[in-house]
């Protein structure tokens, strides 16, 4: 149930926490990674032991800047870190190092695509503004066991980029589309892996409702720590319905922090909310203000990949791909680049290549990999092209053989399967299997004439001559049969039309 009554409008802002793709932590040299034994990835700086000083990881700063450049943000000349003070056992120092007043990224926008009326129709595009993004440290992980809680600090100090949107999102579908787009941008630029199963992307979701046409924003609630796109979508739907129900019953909305129980599909109020001023932010005395050179920004700008929707427009407009194939290819940068390498080897038929890549190649790669999408349950599993047995130029070769009429489209599927199995060139497989189509006009003419003379097809011929174009197909079967399927279908069609006048 995602329908909002027509006289209500929902306003959504997201805070997306992304673990950056680095080897060491953000202020310490401790390594980090998923699936290690508890507290094995902790050093004295992470724990804030006496005598230690945090030093900022260059890679974490550069990945943050790169994100900013991907979304067209401003990279201020200076950024600085603050202490956010709070007492909670997930936090070994009793403060979290974050950026309050001088974040590394300011502004920017993310283009999103909403679902179309059907799978092969492109939906509406919108731009969602980014307010800012700041570089902070992740906190430890708590688990609750009986009367106590257990703390694992492996996650404490992992570089975390918090991306804060403007309240530009207007539906659960837009929130979903935004997260899909953001994940694609982050992964394609190598900023983050965004594997939600490993907790690499978590979301806080601000929701308010107002009467349509009202200027003033309604009172918002913040639901914290959502760890999948579906949880964000469900939270928006749930919170929207709850707030409208409250307001229509004459009650008011309390500004509060909420949690989400994905199993029960319902939200709940978190106890003991601390207000922003309770965090007693102040500039961290251990980390000096960082000046970011324009040379660094220029160098990183060269690493920004083509925006996925710019790529999609190019595929549709310049290469003539159908929307469906283009939208599949652009979601995965490696796949898109693989496709482009194939097109470079056979520029005459990008759609033919796209069709094989988006359907056959993806299907076979997925079957040989098998893993499911983690953050986004609806998205196809990421495939590894590194182990792909077919090289782009080989696929181009297969499409060229089809385009030249050497093999039929049906045979191309068979050759593709063999290529995927053996890694051989298409031409070698065609020769080994004796698949080359018969393009000998003289021999084929004789067969065509014999088939036309057969009284069994007289009715089809009469229908064709009476204007029923499709009737000609009934003649192709017997010809194919007599040539054991090796006749070139294009040539058969030409000859039939010639003889039937």
């Amino acid at each position: 149930m995602s329908n909002v009554p027509p006289d209500w409008e929902v306003v959504i802002g997201l805070e997306v926490h992304v673990q950056l793709h680095t080897r060491a932590k953000v202020f310490a040299s401790s390594p980090w990674g998923f699936g290690k034994e508890p507290n094995e990835q902790v050093d004295p700086v992470v724990l804030g032991l006496p005598g230690t000083l945090p030093v900022v990881n260059r890679e974490a700063v550069e990945k943050s800047i790169l994100f900013g450049l991907v979304v067209g943000a401003e990279i201020p000349e200076r950024c600085a870190w603050d202490r956010k003070n709070y007492f909670y056992p997930d936090n070994p120092k009793n403060y979290q190092l974050t950026q309050k007043d001088f974040p590394v990224v300011v502004g920017g926008q993310v283009e999103i695509e909403l679902p179309g009326a059907s799978r092969n129709v492109m939906g509406e595009h919108k731009f969602i503004r980014i307010h800012h993004a700041h570089l902070e440290e992740d906190v430890g992980k708590l688990s609750h066991a009986g009367s106590g809680s257990l703390v694992d600090y492996n996650r404490a100090g992992v570089p975390l980029l918090e991306i804060v949107t403007e309240p530009d999102l207007r539906s659960s579908a837009e929130a979903e589309a935004f997260l899909r787009s953001l994940v694609a941008m982050l992964t394609q630029a190598g900023v983050a892996d965004c594997d939600m199963e490993k907790g690499q992307l978590r979301c806080d979701c601000n929701v308010s409702v107002r009467r349509r046409g009202a200027e003033k924003l309604g009172t918002r609630t913040e639901t914290k720590n959502l760890n999948s796109i579906s949880s964000v979508r469900d939270t928006v739907i749930y919170e929207t319905a709850r707030q409208i129900r409250e307001l229509e019953a004459g009650r008011s909305i309390t500004q509060e922090t909420r949690g989400w129980n994905a199993e029960l599909a319902r939200g709940y109020v978190l106890r003991d909310k601390e207000d922003a001023h309770d965090y007693r932010y102040f500039p961290d005395p251990d980390i000096p203000t960082l000046k970011i050179s324009r040379e660094t920004v220029t160098r990183l700008a060269k690493q920004v990949p083509e925006n996925l929707y710019d790529r999609q427009r190019r595929y549709v407009e310049k290469l003539g791909l159908p929307y469906t194939a283009a939208s599949v290819l652009v979601n995965d940068r490696a796949l898109a680049e693989w496709f482009e390498a194939a097109v470079a080897a056979h520029p005459a038929n990008p759609s033919g290549i796209a069709n094989l890549v988006a359907n056959d190649l993806l299907r076979d790669l997925a079957a040989s990999a098998g893993a499911a999408g983690a953050f986004d349950e609806a998205a196809p599993a990421p495939v590894s092209l590194a182990s792909c047995p077919i090289k782009p130029a080989q696929l181009a070769g297969l499409v060229k053989l089809t385009d030249d009429g050497v093999i039929s489209k049906q045979q191309a599927k068979e050759v593709f399967a063999e290529m995927f199995k053996t890694g051989q060139d298409a031409a070698a497989i065609v020769d080994a299997k004796g698949l080359r189509q018969n393009s000998d006009t003289g021999e084929l003419e004789k067969i065509v004439q014999e088939v036309i003379a057969d009284p069994a097809v007289a009715k089809s011929i009469a229908e064709y001559r009476a204007g029923n174009e499709k009737a000609i197909n009934a003649l192709k079967g017997p010809i194919m049969k007599r040539t054991q399927g090796k006749a070139n279908p294009v040539l058969i069609d030409q000859l039939l039309r010639k003889f039937l006048g």
Partner: protein, 96 residues
């Protein structure tokens, strides 16, 4: 100087339960500290003071993983531990 804080609220944020005597003592001490900062805030300082603590990117660390303490050492300095994890009183952040 008038009290710019609520001692009960501060105690709650710090997860401390204070006696009436402690509240009076800490309120007086906090007032002294705040008074000191007020004096600092009133000082006439050059606007460029921030430059003293600005560094360029040369001051950043490279992304090279270094040594870790190990769970044994980490848990040894904690008051209580279990199975390589630090044991604390139950904190509730789930549905209740």
């Amino acid at each position: 100087m008038a009290e710019g804080f609520d001692i009960d609220h501060l105690a709650k944020l710090a997860r401390l339960s204070l006696t009436a005597e402690e509240k009076a003592l800490y309120s007086s001490q906090l007032n002294q500290i705040l008074g000191h900062f007020q004096a600092l805030a009133n000082a006439d300082l050059p606007a460029t003071i921030d430059d003293a603590r600005v560094v360029d990117e040369a001051a950043l660390r490279s992304d090279e993983p270094g040594p870790v303490l190990g769970a044994e050492a980490v848990t040894r300095i904690a008051p209580a531990s279990r199975d390589g994890q630090i044991s604390v009183p139950r904190v509730v952040d789930d549905e209740s």
